[in-house]
Symmetry: C2
Subunit: 329 residues, 2 copies
C-alpha cells in the first residue's frame, strides 16, 4: 500500500503531519508513505526517516483562505494537487490531507477524478452520537444541491464505507427528514425514499434531526446544504451549552467546588460529542481513496487517518463502490 500525505496541509503542518506519518511508519512497516511538500522544509524533519517513508517535492501550498477551485487549477505544483496527481497516476493508492476542505474536494473531482457512473462525490464525516458510536453523514458539503439519484448513490457509498472500514455487517441507512412517515418531506426526500427502499442497502427509513444523536442509523443521507445546517446547529448548540455551563460553574467558589466534582463525567461526555475524535472524512465517489483529516489534526490524528486509509484499501472500498454503482446501471 502506498499512501500520499499532503505534508503542508492543516493548522499544524508540516510538523504534526510529519510526526504523525513517522508514528504510522513505525506501526505499519508494510505501508509506503509518501510525504508531499516543500523538500527544503521537510528534509530537516525527516532526517531519521525509515526506508518506507519517502519525500516527494511540491513547491506550492494551498492555504485555508484560497478559493478552492481556482487554487487547484492555478497552483498545479501545490502539495495537495501533487498528492492527488500521484493517486491519479496510480503512483499512490490513497491520499490524506488536513488542508483546505473545498480545495481537497476540487482536487478529488478535478485531479483524481470520479468513479464512472458517480454523478457527485460526497464528503462523509462522522457525526458524534450520545453512545459514542457516531453516524456517517453524507453529503456534508461537497454539493449543496442534490437529486434523488445523488442521494441514492450517497446511500450506497456510505453503506459500503461503514461495512468495509468499520466492519458493520448490515449498516442501517437513514434518510434525514422532517418526520418518520414515508410520505413526509420535501420534493427531494419524497422522491428519494422509494429509491432507497429498493436499493441493495439496509434502509431504515426517515430519521428526524432530533434523533440523529441517538444513533438511530449508521449512515445518514442528506443533501450538502441540509447536512451543513444539521451539523452546524448540533455543534453550535453543544458549544453554546457547554459555554454557559462553564460560566455557571465558575460563578463562585461554591459552584467551582461543585463543578470540580462533576468535571470528570462531563469531560468524557464532551469528548464523545467532539467530532474531531472520529478520524478523517472520506471523499466518496472518487476513483482513488481521498481522506480529509481535520484541519486541527495533531500527529495522532494523522496516524489515525493512515490507519483508516489502510483499512479502506485492504477492504478494496473504491473497487466495491465502482462495482456496485456499475451493476446498478
Amino acid at each position: 500500500m502506498r499512501i500520499a500525505i499532503d505534508a503542508m496541509g492543516g493548522d499544524r503542518a508540516p510538523q504534526a503531519v510529519v510526526e504523525g506519518a513517522l508514528l504510522a511508519a513505525k506501526e505499519w512497516q508494510d505501508t509506503e508513505l509518501i510525504l508531499v511538500g516543500d523538500s527544503a522544509t521537510l528534509e530537516p524533519l525527516l532526517r531519521d526517516k525509515p526506508a518506507h517513508v519517502s519525500l516527494h517535492h511540491a513547491a506550492e501550498v494551498i492555504d485555508a483562505e484560497d478559493e478552492p477551485v481556482k487554487a487547484v487549477r492555478r497552483k498545479k505544483d501545490a502539495s495537495m494537487v501533487v498528492a492527488g496527481r500521484l493517486v491519479r497516476e496510480k503512483a499512490a493508492d490513497a491520499m490524506i490531507s488536513a488542508g483546505n476542505t473545498g480545495a481537497l474536494m476540487a482536487t478529488g473531482l478535478l485531479v483524481v477524478g470520479r468513479i464512472r457512473g458517480i454523478d457527485r462525490p460526497a464528503l462523509a464525516p462522522m457525526i458524534p452520537t450520545l453512545d459514542g458510536s457516531g453516524v456517517l453523514a453524507l453529503d456534508l458539503g461537497a454539493n449543496m444541491d442534490a437529486s434523488p439519484e445523488n442521494l441514492l448513490q450517497y446511500a450506497i457509498m456510505g453503506s459500503l464505507y461503514r461495512n468495509k472500514v468499520h466492519g458493520i455487517g448490515k449498516p442501517r441507512v437513514g434518510l434525514l427528514n422532517v418526520g418518520t412517515e414515508e410520505k413526509k418531506g420535501n420534493e427531494l426526500t419524497k422522491a428519494a425514499f422509494p429509491l432507497l427502499a429498493e436499493a441493495p442497502i439496509h434502509f431504515v427509513g426517515n430519521v428526524e434531526a432530533r434523533d440523529v444523536l441517538q444513533a438511530e442509523c449508521d449512515v445518514l443521507v442528506c443533501d450538502g446544504f441540509v447536512g451543513n445546517i444539521l451539523l452546524k446547529s448540533l455543534e453550535g448548540t453543544a458549544e453554546a451549552i457547554f459555554g454557559v455551563l462553564k460560566q455557571e460553574f465558575t460563578r463562585s467558589l461554591t459552584t467551582k467546588l461543585a463543578a470540580a466534582v462533576l468535571a470528570p463525567g462531563l469531560r468524557s461526555f464532551k469528548k464523545k460529542l467532539d467530532y474531531t475524535e472520529h478520524g478523517g472524512a472520506p471523499l466518496l465517489g472518487i476513483d482513488g481513496l481521498v481522506l480529509k483529516s481535520h484541519g486541527s489534526s495533531d500527529a495522532n490524528a494523522i496516524k489515525n487517518a493512515v490507519r483508516q486509509a489502510r483499512t479502506a484499501l485492504a477492504g478494496r472500498l473504491v473497487e466495491a463502490i465502482s462495482s456496485e454503482i456499475s451493476s446498478g446501471k
Copy 2:
C-alpha cells in the same frame, strides 16, 4: 377586538384553554373572547363568565392524529374550522388554537384564506437564543419547498411581525445559510440573497446555523424543510445534553450535592432554551390573524396568546402585510 379561541384544541383542552381565556378576560375588558367548542362540555366551565366572553357551539373536534387537510375538509363543524370561519366572515378578528398544527395551517389556508399576493403562508415560531431574546424563524413547517420569491415574502412578513408585535424598530433579517459570504449556499439561497438585499427590510445577510443561538438576527428566513432540521437538531441536542447532565448529576451522593449547588443557574438557562416560553406562533400571510399556541399550553400560555393577538391586532399586522405585499407587486 374579537378573538375566537378553539376551546377544544391542545393537550390540556378544554380546561386550560377556558381557564386561560377567563384570565385574559379579567385582564382585558375591551376584548371580546369567543370560545368555540362543544357547548355541553364548555357550559359547565363557563358558569361565572363575564359578559365579554361568549360561547360558540361546534360539535366536532380535530384530534392530534387527524390527517390535517382531510380533517379540515371533512369536519366542517370542528371547533378549529368554525373558529376559522368566524375570522373569514369577519365575525372575529383573530383566532387562537393549541390544536393540530397541520390542521391549523390547513384551516388558515382553506377556511380563512390567503392575503392577495401571498403565494405561501408561513408558520413563524420563535427559536430561543442564549440571551433569551429569541429569533422569529419562518417558514417552520407550513411549506416544505420554497421559491426565492417565497423567501422574500417570508422576510417581509417576519420583519413586519417583529416590528408590530415586538416593537423592534429595524428588525435584523438573516437568511439561514451554510456560510456568511454572499455567494454561499444552494440554488435557493443564492437566488434569494439579492431579492432580500433589495427588499424594504434591514437585511443583515447570511446567518450560519451555528450562530442562530447567538441572536445574530431578529428574523431568520428559510424553507420549511431546512427550518425543521434546524429547530429539531437544536432541540434534540439541548435535550440530549441536559439528559446526560441529569445522569451525571445523580451518579452518586457527592455528585447530587454538587448538582444541587449548580441547579438554580442551570434551571434558569434551560428555561431560556425552552421554546414553549416564547408564546404562540403566527401563521403569517393569512387574511386574518391566526395564532398557533403550543400543544402543551396551560392557562397562562393561552392568556399570553391572547396578549400576542391583541398586540398584533392593535398594530394592524395583517393590514400592514397586505399593503406591503401589494405595493411590491
